[in-house]
Symmetry: C2
Subunit: 184 residues, 2 copies
């Protein structure tokens, strides 16, 4: 029966699962749900691809088209959330994050590493979310200046393990790190 005996071992497990998602396209943590707050005040979500997980800087990164509604929402409020559910590990990771939108020269190196085929995701006429007459009245035209990295700076992690006995802990990221077990 798997159990986590201390808070640092529990946190290690979370980072191990996050890191695996970056390198293993088939692993569940590859595809978290990203939530922002819409102009109307609704929390809105979408499935995204985890591109980077850096424990040293407590930062997670995803890529986006700069003209999507989620970027407009982030420009109004850059408080966001990432949610991971990894069934095989029975592990849920929730991150409260403050997002920096990186563009232009800051993302050139990343853009150069994106395969041609995948660049279709960045650049659309009309912009994603714009009303169109028929369902296919749009074109995907790769455009480097539509490519952005959303750098998600973690402020809090809420971890839940649904093993035989459930375990849950909250980590407030800062100097020092404050971590506590909480009732699941």
């Amino acid at each position: 029966m798997k159990q986590f005996s201390d808070l640092s071992e529990f946190l290690d497990q979370a980072w191990s699962l996050l890191t695996r998602g970056v390198v293993d396209a088939k692993f569940a943590s590859r595809n978290p749900t990203f939530s922002t707050i819409s102009e109307e005040g609704f929390p809105t979500m979408r499935t995204v691809v985890l591109r980077r997980a850096d424990r040293m800087s407590n930062c997670l990164e995803i890529h986006t088209d700069l003209k999507t509604n989620k970027v407009f929402s982030l420009k109004k409020s850059n408080f966001a959330g990432l949610h991971f559910w990894i069934p095989k590990a029975k592990f849920q990771i929730r991150a409260s994050v403050i997002v920096d939108i990186l563009t232009g020269s800051e993302v050139e190196a990343d853009w150069s590493r994106i395969p041609m085929q995948s660049r279709m995701s960045y650049g659309s006429v009309p912009r994603p979310g714009a009303e169109i007459k028929g369902p296919f009245d749009y074109k995907k035209i790769p455009q480097q200046d539509c490519f952005a990295i959303l750098r998600c700076n973690i402020k809090e992690l809420d971890l839940l393990y649904l093993g035989d006995i459930h375990q849950r802990a909250v980590y407030k990221i800062g100097e020092p790190l404050v971590s506590v077990w909480v009732a699941p």
Copy 2:
């Protein structure tokens, strides 16, 4: 090659997938992500179980312990979101919802249908999210007065189909229903 030729067929597909999640515990739409806005202003998410999907009243239901943070959040702002990603159908469903919290006599019939084993999810000492000293310093004690139904009244649906050609549409729920194709 599957395609949706009109907006009502596209919406039919979404409701068909939602309805299946209610009855089929192994189907992906059984476990949407539910997002609320925390006291600190972060959109916070958790995996939940879809208990009811009613197209006539445009309403989705989930169950919760009344003492969870999501309920506290909903009492401050009842604007919430539900997100479904159904890999087999290549279909994403996003619902912007306004939530009613049902308790007491309103939920008696539902409570009576919950198997004894499952009632453990409603009632915890201390309450879910409360700080505890050791990871196992809590007890699950089924309590009918901790059981609540979150009735999620749909205000908007945003549907995305990632077939060979991507399709996306937005439905504003009201009289009349307003629906448009949008660029994916």
